[in-house]
Symmetry: C2
């Protein structure tokens, strides 16, 4: 079974929002053994939706549409799809109507005729129950192929996918399994790693391999299509072994692992603790650390010292260091990391101080400059980097530099 | 001129990465007056790329492809596109080759034959210079239509778009202008706002209007297609006036405005300052505040007190409050906000304390519970919310609740 996703909405075509729905749906379908071969985005335009649907129903066995099921005038998907499947007559679904009424009653919002209209369903469609919102999902079947329509609100789409679509799809998929494994590396260039793994056909005897560079890391994705789960697993294992034999020193994790989740695992195992002192990253390093469930076991506190006063008062950075070297300097980064470790009584103190931009740079200290420091029990290490002109890219890269400094230290001292 | 985007990469189809390139490109094209009508995603598969390119060259005047131009074996786009345009012979572009060599020399990385191959260009293609990386962009022209191919690495694609593609496109677009205006609202349901603006045709006499609900706000997007910039502007202005006349009390900003940028503007104007004390949000509130350029003018410090010790030591939260009410309580939220304001000597102190999950909930204090508090010069206000089971969604919603509390206070006391 091959799937196709049609994402509907002018807001996608003008770039106002990013299509996170399509990637979430692709992942969920992949886990269920159904590969997605096309993702097509069209606007709230009847003819474009119809044409995309026609192409999709011709070349794919499962077609999922999202978007344009809301209550307002710009939501036209239901009508277009109903017409396409020769079911223009809409009938009220009493169970959906009661559900919509109950939602409005609970929220204490006034209910209006356009909300009642959400319970209207094309005669030939089956309802895909949406407990998370007012617009029901719809299922059409034609020539043994399935077409399912869902709202574009991410939480509602995810709910219908998990509760309705995936179980329905799984009933029909019995023939094959798709499996992926991502090997995450850092500290090596794409072409160097490629050569290290050459000849690549040694790996590809077992699994397809793709190179996926990111800002500060490089992922290798292994993919297999096999008749059973166990065969898929052994193909992946064989390919993975070759990669690890040739390049294990650059591998920091697998699949969902992140630098921060690996750090978290190690700190938990070693019963060590962490305090963070941030300036230019403004909370982004601490936020990444606390995105990991269970981080309260090792993350004691974060101190975002945007002002010099805060650096002196909360971290004990000596005023003469700020005066002589400036807030963005190796000496300040060191004093911040050591100060965080001291006041929080943690195993490690990690700090960032730099110029995120877009303004505030000087010839000596340009926008993009950052100093990061790690205070460990027996020593403090510092590093300097110069990145870009873009504030948000800098916050990301600065935080990655700080976390990588901690990661490298933990790895070396394992 | 109508544009179409073809995004290439298995990593997109399996949902491993989100297609942020397509939204960025759509925005850039829209500003240049070129609407995107289709975005199509296909995998690293020669036949699927060729078929998508054929459809696109038939129905669109400008076709932009990204992805699959890297140095490794899974990058096949250059070959497929060259064949499609009848230009299979590749020739070395000396200028590109020197550029690739210079990049490797600067990075002090060893250079290999697969890197040299990046300078091979189809005979009929024109190079779109890529100063940001090693893979050149390519331009093909056929029957008056343009096809441009770029790497999928976001920073390289953006560079080629800004420096090469947009200027080329602008030379050809003289016939019309597209304009959008987003009106950002909060605190009102989609259907209620729809009715308030009814009859919607009063607005649509001037501009198309779309309703775009987000997690914690609701955007209205006005769109026009007009012969000139000035006509577009006056149509937008007329539509905007109708919306503001009917619903201005729910409008917090326009276009790129966010709650945090509006807060920043007001604090700067009033010369007021802010300190933040976070628990469950782990730095996310401070990070949002510091994403705004110029936030160092009003953001003094952020204190992430993940442990009880940190709450007592850094914010002066009384130990008996923690003992009697617990860390997640109205009393603790209040003491945190007041403590942040006191130690940082700022106009405002803003705090969050809650249970982000996935574990740590109790019957009395479930996962998703948050207390937020704002300490202002004459009073402290608190609010309680219960959101979801998802850690990252909770961090987002908790932070939005805290920022909205500050926003509302600043608005009321303008």
């Amino acid at each position: 079974m091959i799937a196709e996703i049609i994402s509907i909405g002018d807001e996608l075509l003008i770039g106002q929002i990013v299509n996170t729905n399509a990637s979430w749906m692709s992942q969920a379908l992949g886990k269920a053994g159904v590969p997605v071969r096309h993702v097509v985005t069209v606007g709230d335009d009847g003819e474009d939706i119809r044409s995309a649907l026609e192409t999709a129903m011709r070349r794919s066995e499962l077609v999922l549409l999202t978007g344009g099921l809301g209550p307002t005038h710009d939501d036209i998907t239901k009508k277009v799809v109903a017409d396409f499947f020769g079911s223009p007559r809409l009938v009220t679904d009493q169970k959906v109507l009661e559900h919509v009424r109950a939602i409005f009653a609970r929220r204490n919002f006034p209910m209006s005729p356009i909300n009642e209209a959400q319970a209207l369903v094309p005669e030939k469609a089956q309802v895909l129950w949406n407990a998370a919102g007012t617009a029901p999902g719809l299922l059409f079947e034609q020539d043994g192929k399935l077409c399912m329509v869902m709202p574009g609100v991410p939480s509602e789409m995810r709910h219908i996918m998990s509760e309705q679509v995936i179980p329905l799809v799984q009933q029909r998929v019995t023939d094959s399994v798709i499996a992926h494994r991502t090997i995450r590396t850092a500290g090596i260039a794409e072409s160097t790693l490629f050569e290290r793994l050459s000849p690549i056909k040694d790996v590809e005897k077992f699994a397809r391999i793709a190179f996926l560079p990111n800002y500060a890391s490089l992922d290798l994705r292994l993919s297999v299509h096999a008749p059973s789960r166990s065969e898929a697993a052994s193909l992946i294992a064989a390919a993975e072994k070759i990669v690890l034999d040739k390049a294990s020193e650059y591998v920091f994790g697998f699949d969902e692992d992140t630098i921060e989740s690996v750090i978290g695992r190690w700190l938990t195992e070693r019963r060590e603790t962490l305090a963070i002192a941030e300036s230019c990253t403004g909370g982004w390093v601490s936020n990444r650390i606390t995105n990991v469930a269970g981080s309260s076991n090792y993350f004691e506190r974060g101190i975002i010292t945007y002002s010099n006063d805060a650096k002196v008062e909360m971290l004990g950075v000596p005023e003469e260091i700020l005066r002589e070297h400036g807030a963005v300097s190796e000496a300040t980064a060191r004093a911040m990391a050591e100060g965080a470790r001291r006041v929080a009584k943690t195993t490690y103190g990690l700090s960032t101080t730099g110029i995120a931009g877009p303004t505030g740079g000087t010839p000596d200290k340009p926008v993009g400059l950052v100093w990061v420091a790690l205070a460990a029990p027996n020593k403090t290490v510092t590093k300097k980097f110069i990145y870009t002109q873009d504030r948000l890219v800098n916050k990301e890269r600065f935080s990655q530099a700080a976390l990588y400094l901690l990661y490298s230290h933990l790895k070396k001292n394992a």
